[in-house]
C-alpha cells in the first residue's frame, strides 16, 4: 500500500476517532457501519425511546403524588382510607402493571427475533473466514483459505472487503479476551479451551477500531485492533501482498538492519517469513511496514514510535512482553529502516 494511502488512512482513522463524543466515531456502537451492528442499534433505539417514555411517566406520577400528598400535613396516621380511594389506587396500579407486562412482551419478542436473525444466517455466511486468537495483549490474525498457499498470519490489523460477510473463529490463547468492533458487531469472548464464532460485515469502506472487552490483565486497556474495510480489488491486492514472503533488504542500511534483527533478541519471539526468524510469541512482522499501527493499535506506525517502542516498549505498555533493548543509534536506525521496508 502506498505511503499516500497509509497517511490518508491514518488521518481518516484518528480524525474520525476525534468525533467519537458526537455521534460519529470509529469505535461507536450507535454509529453502525454494517448489517449486524445496524440491527443492534435499531433495537437499542426502540428500547431507548420506550424506556425514556416510561421513565418520564413514572416521574410525572411521582411528582403529582408528592404534590398531592404534600398538601395534607397533620401527623395522625390514616389507618383505613375510604374504600373508593382504595379501588382507584388498585385500578391505577393494575393498569400500570399491565402496561409494564405488555412493554416487556414487545421487548422480548423484538430482541428474540433480532437475536435469531443475527445467528440464524451465520451458517450460510460463506464469504471470508478469519481465525482470531487473543494473546496478552495483542491479536493474532490468521486468514484461512482452501488453497494452503493463500493462508497467512498477521496481527492487530484485519483487512476485509466491503459488503462481504466475514466469519471469525475465535480462540483464547492464554486468558479470556473479547472481540468487539462496536461499529460492526456485538462482542464475543475468546475463551481458552472453547471455540466461538461470530460474523460481521462492513458496508462502507473505512477504518473501524475494536478493543478487547473482557478484562485480561495489565494491558487490557491497550489491546485494540483495526478493521480496515476496503473495496474488493484493493483488498485482493493487499491479500496478494500478504501471502508473499518478506521483501528482501534493498539498501545497505536495511541489510545491516536485518542482521541486527537476526542477532538481537527480536528473533527469539518474532517471525519474518523468508528469514531465519521463525518464532511466534510476538506478532508476525513479515509485513509490519504495511500496517497502520503498532503495539495493538496503540501507536501509529511511524519511525519515531518504532524506535521508542523497540528501545523501551514499557513506557507505552507497562508489563507487555516485549523486552527493552538498548541498541546503539546506528543499529537502531538500520533496524527501523529494515522494518519499515517490510511492506
Amino acid at each position: 500500500m502506498t505511503e499516500f494511502r497509509k497517511t490518508k488512512l491514518l488521518t481518516l482513522a484518528f480524525g474520525a476517532l476525534g468525533f467519537l463524543s458526537s455521534c460519529g466515531g470509529i469505535q461507536n456502537s450507535i454509529n453502525p457501519a454494517g448489517p449486524n451492528a445496524d440491527s443492534l442499534s435499531r433495537l437499542w433505539w426502540l428500547m431507548f425511546y420506550v424506556c425514556t417514555a416510561v421513565y418520564v411517566l413514572v416521574m410525572i406520577a411521582l411528582v403529582i403524588a408528592i404534590r398531592n400528598g404534600g398538601r395534607k400535613s397533620d401527623l395522625n396516621p390514616v389507618l383505613n382510607p375510604s374504600p373508593e380511594t382504595e379501588t382507584r389506587k388498585r385500578n391505577a396500579v393494575l393498569s400500570a402493571v399491565t402496561a409494564t407486562v405488555v412493554i416487556l412482551f414487545v421487548f422480548l419478542i423484538y430482541s428474540y427475533s433480532t437475536g435469531r436473525a443475527l445467528t440464524a444466517d451465520l451458517a450460510q455466511k460463506n464469504g471470508l473466514s478469519i481465525e482470531l486468537t487473543g494473546h496478552q495483549w495483542w491479536w493474532e490474525v490468521r486468514y484461512n483459505d482452501v488453497d494452503a498457499s493463500n493462508i497467512f498470519t498477521t496481527a492487530n490489523e484485519i483487512h476485509i472487503p466491503v459488503g462481504v460477510p466475514v466469519t471469525f473463529t475465535l480462540r483464547g490463547g492464554d486468558v479470556i479476551h473479547s472481540f468487539w468492533v462496536p461499529n460492526l458487531a456485538g462482542k464475543k469472548d475468546l475463551i481458552p479451551g472453547k471455540v466461538a464464532t461470530t460474523w460481521l460485515q462492513a458496508d462502507k469502506p473505512g477504518v473501524y477500531r475494536g478493543q478487547c472487552a473482557e478484562y485480561c490483565g495489565l494491558q487490557h486497556a491497550r489491546m485494540a485492533l483495526w478493521i480496515v474495510a476496503e473495496p474488493q480489488d484493493q483488498f485482493n491486492a493487499w491479500r496478494q501482498n500478504q501471502t508473499q514472503g518478506s521483501v528482501p533488504p534493498a539498501t545497505d542500511s536495511q541489510r545491516y538492519g536485518q542482521q541486527v534483527f537476526l542477532s538481537a533478541p527480536c528473533v527469539m519471539c518474532h517471525t519474518i517469513n523468508g528469514t531465519r526468524a521463525g518464532s511466534n510469541f510476538g506478532p508476525n512482522l513479515t509485513h509490519v511496514g504495511s500496517r497502520n499501527t503498532i503495539a495493538a493499535a496503540t501507536l501509529s506506525n511511524t519511525r519515531e514510535h518504532l524506535m521508542q517502542w523497540i528501545v523501551n516498549s514499557q513506557q507505552f505498555k507497562p508489563g507487555n512482553r516485549m523486552p527493552q533493548n538498548n541498541l546503539g543509534q546506528t543499529e537502531l536506525d538500520a533496524l527501523v529502516d529494515y522494518l519499515q521496508s517490510l511492506k
Binding site: P192, Y256, Q259, V260, S263, A264, P265, V267, M268, C269, S279, F281, N312, Q314, Q315, P318, G319, P323, Q324, N325, N326, L327, G328, E331
Partner: protein
C-alpha cells in the same frame, strides 16, 4: 481501652506499609549490557566466560518474575531438550545433580555462554533481565526457591507437580560422566 485500639491500629499500619518483595512487578529492566555481535565466527572466546554475574538474583524473590521465567522456559523452547525439567536430550533440572553448579551465577553462565555437548549460548539473544527470570525458574524446578515465590501449575497437561509443591533437593556437584 481506646489507647490500646489506637496502638494496635498504629502497629498494624507500621507493619503493613513495610511492603512485600514477593509481589513486586518491575517492568522497566535495568539497562542490558550487550552490543549485538554482527558476525560470530566462532563459539570459542578468549578469557573468562561471560560477564561477571551479580551474587544474588533479584528475580528469585519475585513471584511474578519466576512466573515469567516459566513462560519464557516454554517460549524459548528450553523444554525442547530439558522437557518440563525431567530432562531428556539435555540433563534433568529438577533433580539434585548439577554439572556446572546450582548457584544463580552458574546457571546464568550456562544460559549466556552455553556448555559443551549441546547447550547453546544465548548470549545477545536473551536480555539480561529475562535470563535472570529463567535462572530463578530453573532453580524453582528443584525446589530451591521459597514456596510462595515458586510458580504454581500452569493450564496445561499435568506433567509434574507444580514447582511450589516440589520438595527441595540438596544440590550436589556431579561430573558430566555421571549423567546417563
Amino acid at each position: 481501652m481506646r489507647r490500646t485500639i489506637i496502638l494496635v491500629i498504629y502497629l498494624y499500619l507500621c507493619i503493613s506499609v513495610a511492603g512485600c518483595k514477593r509481589e513486586q512487578r518491575q517492568f522497566t529492566a535495568p539497562p542490558a549490557t550487550f552490543k549485538p555481535y554482527i558476525v560470530t565466527m566462532s563459539e570459542i572466546q578468549p578469557g573468562s566466560a561471560g560477564p561477571p554475574a551479580p551474587m544474588q538474583n533479584p528475580s528469585e524473590q519475585r513471584a511474578y518474575d519466576t512466573n515469567q521465567g516459566k513462560q519464557l522456559f516454554q517460549q524459548y523452547n528450553c523444554s525442547g531438550c530439558h522437557f518440563n525439567g525431567g530432562g531428556g536430550i539435555g540433563p534433568a533440572l529438577m533433580d539434585a545433580q548439577w554439572i556446572y553448579g546450582s548457584n544463580p551465577e552458574n546457571i546464568y553462565d550456562t544460559i549466556v555462554e552455553g556448555r559443551p555437548n549441546g547447550m547453546p549460548s544465548f548470549r545477545a539473544k536473551i536480555p539480561d533481565d529475562q535470563v535472570w527470570k529463567l535462572v530463578s525458574y530453573v532453580r524453582s524446578l528443584s525446589g530451591q526457591l521459597p514456596k510462595d515465590v515458586a510458580p504454581t501449575r500452569n493450564d496445561d497437561m499435568n506433567a509434574r507437580r507444580s514447582e511450589q509443591r516440589t520438595k527441595r533437593e540438596a544440590p550436589k556437584q556431579t561430573s558430566p560422566g555421571e549423567i546417563h
